[in-house]
């Protein structure tokens, strides 16, 4: 069929006075947007293929390029807007499920931006983190119910296994396969230097990265890719992934073309075979089943490593979290609906799940009410964009946060939402060796360190402003938060007062 309703999403504007025909844009675009016209000695662009990843714009030595929204408009219609119409064109052409990458693009409320932090004035002194000690260390793991002493006043407690993090920020699970080896190396090296952890995602652990084990959380997900005894013992903790914020209730699918030799070895699947993670774990149909898996993993690791359970933030998250805590998990990871992904069905990504802020508040509250908050650490993820999001999360009750999208943005991701194509021009979400090369771990791990160090400074400033000198003193301290523009119900769920109260 020759009739194609596809129109470009973006338009490339080339300043002819600035273009020197160096052809860098041609060589750098994996989508083959740019081409050279020998007859006219000009470089031209085919807008249809452009995904607006900014690779050409960034590398153009004379800054001759601008990418902007393609100005073609449909007749104005608040209901049938351009996006809605185009999605129908796409499905009418392909007959398939719409796929999207990264987090939802819909304008759902962002509660972080509707909460304000407190600061000390007169009656309690604020603290200057540059002059006074400030503790941002956190311990992830189950805390004992009681702290008994013997007759000589010596502490009798044996602590369950803990993971010590210098900062309350970890890198979220992104599998080798969905992201490149160089991206993984950058995350691993940055985590090691920062004294925090990165998460392998469900694609197993590449043999070159076992040396970063002290800063690795290994993941066990429904596909069980790359899971074996050495893998489970390689990291400092194990995460059972039940669900993911971007696609709650949905499994994963790594296309066979991304399963090259290395990925195949790491995942323990044949080269070129699709890696399909089922939607459920086929051995978990209840909290009791989950308990069995948790304890199988604890047995395998001789009870030396905390077991995390990761779920997507869904309607009954609080009750589910309570079940997970009782099932014996040492930490619960909750992934909010704005979380990113390599690929998810668009309808799922944009319509399933609940905001992480509300899920966190209700889970923390529920665990407190049931007297089991100490049994688990709470780690949250799903679009943590900056240090103040983290401070607010901790004040709502989180122990630590995972960052995924933010870490990738530090590595060069420009949020073009094209991960699933495998043609990531920044060398992140691709397995093409010529593209993977573009991400130089020597440069990129430093950028990650810079980002987290900067955030840590900001966290310390905010803590100091509140007159708090340790992150543990802020945990669950909701009096440090005030809502702005929130209704009674929202304030009630978040457990905070309105500004001015």
């Amino acid at each position: 069929m020759s009739l194609d309703f596809d129109v470009p999403s973006f338009e490339i504007l080339r300043n002819k006075n600035k273009c020197i025909q160096c052809k860098v844009c041609i060589r750098q675009c994996a989508n083959m947007v740019h081409f050279y016209d020998k007859d006219d000695n000009i470089v031209c662009s085919n807008n249809v293929y452009c995904v607006n990843c900014h690779r050409c714009v960034t590398l153009c030595p004379t800054k001759a390029l601008i990418v902007r929204k393609y100005p073609l408009e449909f007749r104005e219609n608040a209901n049938w807007n351009g996006a809605a119409i185009r999605e129908i064109y796409k499905q009418a052409k392909s007959g398939g499920v719409l796929l999207s990458s990264m987090g939802t693009t819909k304008a759902f409320p962002i509660y972080w931006d509707k909460m304000l932090l407190n600061a000390s004035q007169v009656t309690n002194p604020s603290i200057d983190p540059l002059r006074e000690p400030m503790e941002t260390k956190v311990l992830i793991g189950r805390k004992p119910n009681v702290i008994p002493f013997d007759d000589n006043d010596e502490l009798k407690t044996t602590m369950p296994p803990q993971i010590e993090l210098n900062i309350p920020i970890m890198f979220a699970g992104m599998s080798y396969g969905s992201i490149s080896k160089n991206a993984h190396e950058s995350l691993a090296r940055a985590a090691t230097e920062l004294g925090t952890c990165y998460n392998t995602g469900e694609g197993g652990l590449h043999k070159d990265f076992y040396k970063y084990g002290n800063n690795t959380i290994v993941q066990v997900a429904s596909g069980r890719f790359g899971v074996h005894k050495d893998y489970l013992n390689a990291g400092v903790g194990i995460e059972i992934k039940i669900g993911q914020g971007a696609k709650p209730g949905i499994g994963g699918h790594l296309p066979g073309k991304k399963v090259g030799e290395d990925v195949s070895l790491t995942r323990m699947i044949p080269i070129g075979s699709d890696a399909i993670s089922p939607a459920p774990h086929h051995d978990i149909y209840s909290i009791e089943d989950l308990r069995q898996l948790i304890f199988s993993l604890k047995e395998t690791t001789e009870y030396r490593k905390p077991i995390f359970v990761k779920i997507a933030a869904v309607h009954n998250a609080a009750a589910i979290a309570s079940g997970i805590a009782r099932a014996g998990a040492d930490a619960i990871v909750i992934d909010g609906f704005r979380g990113g992904t390599g690929a998810a069905p668009t309808r799922i990504r944009d319509n399933v799940g609940i905001p992480i802020e509300l899920a966190l508040a209700s889970i923390d509250q529920r665990l407190h009410e049931e007297g089991i908050r100490n049994c688990v650490s709470l780690i949250i993820s799903g679009s943590i964009r900056n240090s103040s999001d983290i401070v607010k999360a901790i004040a709502l009750g989180a122990d630590a946060v995972y960052i995924g999208s933010a870490a990738l943005i530090a590595l060069g991701c420009h949020m073009c939402h094209s991960c699933s194509t495998g043609k990531c021009n920044w060398g992140i979400a691709t397995q093409d060796p010529s593209l993977v090369k573009r991400l130089n771990p020597d440069i990129m791990y430093k950028r990650l360190i810079n980002l987290i160090t900067a955030w840590n400074h900001e966290i310390q400033e905010m803590l100091g402003g509140m007159g708090i000198n340790a992150i543990d003193s802020l945990k669950g301290n909701r009096l440090m938060l005030r809502g702005i523009g929130l209704n009674e119900k929202e304030l009630h769920i978040l457990g905070i007062k309105h500004a001015g109260e």
């Binding site: 006075n17 600035k18 020197i20 025909q21 160096c22 052809k23 860098v24 060589r27 750098q28 590398l59 030595p61 004379t62 060796p433 010529s434 090369k437 573009r438 130089n440 020597d442 440069i443």
Partner: protein
Amino acid sequence: MKRIYAFEERCLGCKLCEVYCKTAHSKSKNIIKANKYENIESAIFIEEVIEKKSIVYFALQCRHCKNPKCVKACISGAMYKGEDGIVRNNSEKCVSCLSCVLVCPFGAIKVGKDGQTISKCDLCVNYGTSLCVDHCPNDAIKLIEENDDCFTKGRL
């Protein structure tokens, strides 16, 4: 002495180094004018080696040899090795015999578009900073001593 080393594991073949080499050696020192109007050949160039599954790129430029053949072969005394170890070509003395191009074992000396001038890397000493190194987007070319850590550590 410091030399420019290229690391093909990192080279993307974008050829930005060539653009900046031309700029550094132009009269205008203006990136647009140098590349559009000035007839300069880059002294660093990206070689493409097509292999079975991929293309290997690496940047090639003058190695500033200890006993440079180009200096020996030069019939007019234009090519010389300075006390700083850098091999340079004095264009005023050059008679365009192109003997240096012929003898260079690396093929690192290029003939300009006019067929008369030659271009070779002078490490941008007069420019102050090696523009190709500064602008490589992937740290694939570095100005380093031959005993630099990155050769021994195995990590670039």
